[in-house]
């Protein structure tokens, strides 16, 4: 029984939150990696693109709620998602047209584009604060739990509960759908193939008559959609604060670099690696240890490897290890 209890505690506090967070990071890192593959720079504005899209989603959610529209047991924000994606894609296309295109035509060094994207990041950050303010916003509604503590305990008779929040289930399902759709798109459609060709060898792609502007636009739209979805899922699961989204930039980058910048498969693997390491290292293992170890060896401390303040250090450490030992990432990016 104790082993089962330990397993359920592990599932409840480490695996489930880790997988949900990992899915959110993976979607964010996919956006970064796609931009990198096609436009060849690390987009520092990605965190704030997530924040901007989420802010729009929150506003539309409020509007829908005020009209009395809801999505049954699911969060209303999912209905607002398409609007958020549309607005964000529009904004991102505008920034590409007004800002990035100039440097692309000039064939500017990647580092110039990185600085420019930092400028865009601050404009977007300011816009988000103007639109929605700096306070914490909770916009989750609908059914709170898919599986709550009482039901699980009554069904299994275990002392430890397993709780699955609706938002966690929604996150995982949506992430799987998005990833499947993205890979199908990249493998099977003409535009997807031209994106991959453009990423592999720009000159050859141009020679074979691929329209670079179209490839770039499609990439921005996909990246914006992924950013808004990732941001909204993160906000539903936790809460929305502009500053937190700025800080998400580091884990998202770490995920993209671990997998190999430019490799979509790598971004997904990277997202889960970063998220699970973060949860494993900052979780207080006392509960699990008490179940597994005999009474005589019961731990007196919390058995927490790192305090939660140092979450950011985990993504950083992973980043450093990757840069030291395999700078191109697990899946051999660029």
């Amino acid at each position: 029984m104790d082993i089962l209890n330990a397993f359920v505690a592990l599932l409840n506090f480490v695996i489930v939150p880790g997988v949900a967070y990992g899915s959110q990071l993976a979607l964010g890192a996919l956006g970064v990696t796609l931009i990198f593959a096609v436009l060849r720079f690390s987009n520092f504005a990605h965190g704030d693109t997530m924040a901007f899209g989420t802010a729009i989603v929150i506003m539309v959610t409020w509007l829908l709620q005020s009209w009395g529209i809801s999505f049954g047991p699911l969060p209303t924000a999912l209905l607002a998602l398409p609007f958020g994606i549309a607005v964000t894609a529009g904004l991102v296309l505008l920034t590409d047209r007004g800002i990035y295109r100039f440097y692309r035509r000039q064939k500017a060094a990647p580092i110039i584009l990185v600085i420019v994207s930092a400028g865009v990041m601050f404009v977007m950050n300011g816009l988000v604060r103007l639109i929605i303010g700096v306070e914490e916003r909770n916009f989750t509604d609908g059914e709170r739990f898919l599986l709550d503590a009482q039901t699980f305990k009554a069904a299994t008779g275990l002392a430890e509960p397993l709780v699955i929040k609706t938002t966690v289930a929604v996150t995982v399902v949506i992430a799987v759908l998005c990833v499947a759709a993205l890979f199908w798109f990249l493998q099977n459609t003409r535009t997807g193939k031209s994106m991959r060709a453009f990423s592999d060898n720009e000159d050859l792609a141009l020679l074979s008559g691929i329209n670079p502007d179209r490839v770039v636009q499609v990439t921005w739209i996909i990246a914006a959609a992924l950013a808004v979805i990732a941001g909204t899922l993160y906000g539903l699961d936790k809460s929305f604060r502009p500053f937190v989204y700025f800080q998400l930039l580091l884990p998202v980058f770490a995920a993209a670099v671990v997998g190999g910048l430019g490799s979509p498969l790598g971004a997904i693997a990277g997202g889960y690696i970063v998220a699970l390491s973060e949860v494993v290292l900052t979780y207080a293992w006392k509960k699990v240890a008490t179940y597994v170890l005999p009474d005589s060896m019961a731990p007196d401390g919390l058995m927490q490897l790192l305090s939660t303040d140092y979450k950011v250090a985990v993504s950083f450490a992973i980043l450093i290890i990757v840069l030291l030992f395999m700078p191109t990432g697990i899946f051999k990016g660029k």
């Binding site: 300011g126 580091l250 670099v257 303040d309 993504s315």
Partner: protein, 435 residues
């Protein structure tokens, strides 16, 4: 010649801004903005060395500033002997142990042949070392933080003069830059930007949560002033000073604050001038030509036998050290360490805009950018809400009006971002271009 006239005119215009602030607001405010402007100019000089000379983009300027601030606490905060006796040596021993583990793992990695055995051995050393380190370190921290947490709860500093903290601040920032540069330089240029973003966040988190070091978010206040700046209250109590000012018809309290700020200005101004002199010499020396050659064409430079990565590491360390120096100066002027103020917006992004607006690669440009944007940044803080107040004067009081007035502060972000984008697009060489 036309160029130097233009540059003089630009500096005169910025000087006029400060004079106008003095006349229309108060000289106290004008001097305060000027002092922070000089410090920003020094930071901009440091960033200019990295970006302007060598083309390195670091997003972790705020980390260097914060490390400089930490140096002031370590060097000049009053010692807390009881807390240090309780656990100081254990904490330091734990830290030394941590470094020793990393060194041991590195040596092991270098000395063994690649393969599974090496991976396992290094992992074992790191994991066991980590637990040993946590065991020693945690017990020390608990002992230190238990001592009178309302007032101290930290190991205290050396109680040395604040001026000594300035080079130490440069040293701290330089060491951090060495570590990060060793890892991230020589790879894709984006990696340095990403890695520095991380190290800066970690430095700020350490300052916020390691109470034993600098009391974390409980802040350390009352740090001593650097020589020769006196405290205002001492000046006001000094009969000679009061006598002197009243003879000139000034009131003692106002005059004492102004005198203190003038002394800071002289002190900071001297440092700035020495740094400019040094950087101009360096930039016009064979070393400076080599740096520019590397920046403009890395492949050609390495074909000429220059070690690009090593030079990058060198200039990255020097630039970060200059920023750390300015960070230490800032903290010793403010007399307190408040980790909450170290926002990437204020100390990374703003400094970047200063360098790029002033003119990348030109030391005088960075100084001009530092003073101009330092003035704008603080002036807008006062003017923004007032301006928004005028604009919304016709609106009835209510949510919308409060929202608009509150939003004035966020306009700074948008404005600065737009300024950066416009300058990069239309005047990438900045106000005072590189020759």
């Amino acid at each position: 010649m036309a160029h130097s006239y233009r540059n003089l005119l630009l500096f005169a215009a910025v000087g006029l801004l400060f004079i106008l602030t003095g006349i229309f607001q108060s000289w106290n405010l004008s001097l305060q903005i000027l002092n922070i402007g000089i410090l920003s100019a020094i930071m901009a000089l440091g960033v200019n060395m990295q970006w302007g000379y060598a083309g390195l983009f670091s997003t972790g300027v705020v980390g260097s500033v914060a490390l400089g601030g930490l140096a002031v606490v370590v060097v000049s905060a009053p010692p807390v002997p009881e807390a240090f006796a309780a656990g100081g040596w254990t904490v330091l021993g734990g830290l030394v142990l941590g470094v020793a583990v990393i060194v041991a793992a590195t040596l092991l990695y270098r000395s063994m042949k690649p393969g599974r055995a090496r991976g396992l051995a290094v992992a074992a050393v790191v994991v066991m070392g980590f637990f040993l380190y946590r065991y020693v370190f945690d017990s020390g921290v608990a002992a230190v933080e238990a001592f009178n947490p309302a007032t101290y709860g930290n190991i205290g500093g050396f109680g040395l003069p604040s001026l000594l903290a300035w080079p130490v601040g440069a040293l701290f920032a330089g060491i951090a830059a060495w570590v990060i540069g060793k890892i991230a330089l020589g790879l894709r240029s984006d990696y340095l930007a990403i890695a520095t973003l991380g190290i800066a966040e970690i430095v700020v988190v350490v300052l916020k949560s390691e109470d034993w070091l600098a009391r974390g978010v409980k802040n350390i206040t009352g740090l001593p002033r650097p020589w020769p700046v006196p405290l205002e209250v001492d000046l006001q109590a000094d009969a000679g000073f009061v006598d002197f000012v009243t003879r000139w018809g000034w009131e003692p309290i106002g005059a004492s604050t102004i005198l203190v700020k003038l002394l800071y200005m002289a002190l900071f101004g001297t440092v700035l001038l020495v740094l400019i002199w040094g950087s101009e010499r360096a930039l016009n020396s064979p070393w400076g030509r080599m740096m520019r050659a590397i920046r403009d064409n890395e492949i050609a430079a390495s074909a000429m036998g220059k070690n690009v990565t090593k030079r990058h590491l060198q200039v990255f360390i020097i630039g970060s050290a200059v920023v750390g120096l300015a960070g230490a100066m800032l903290t010793s002027m403010e007399g307190q360490l408040v980790p909450g103020v170290y926002s990437p917006l204020r100390f990374t992004f703003l400094i970047w805009v200063m360098v790029i607006v002033g003119g990348s690669g030109n030391n005088w440009g960075s100084v001009l950018g530092g003073l101009l944007l330092g003035w704008l940044w603080l002036a807008v803080e006062y003017l923004g809400p007032n301006l928004m107040g005028y604009i919304t004067a016709a609106l009835p009081p209510g949510d919308l009006k409060t929202h608009l007035i509150d939003s004035a502060q966020h306009m700074r972000l948008v404005t600065l971002g737009v300024v950066l984008l416009l300058v990069l697009r239309f005047a990438p060489r900045g106000l005072i271009p590189e020759k």
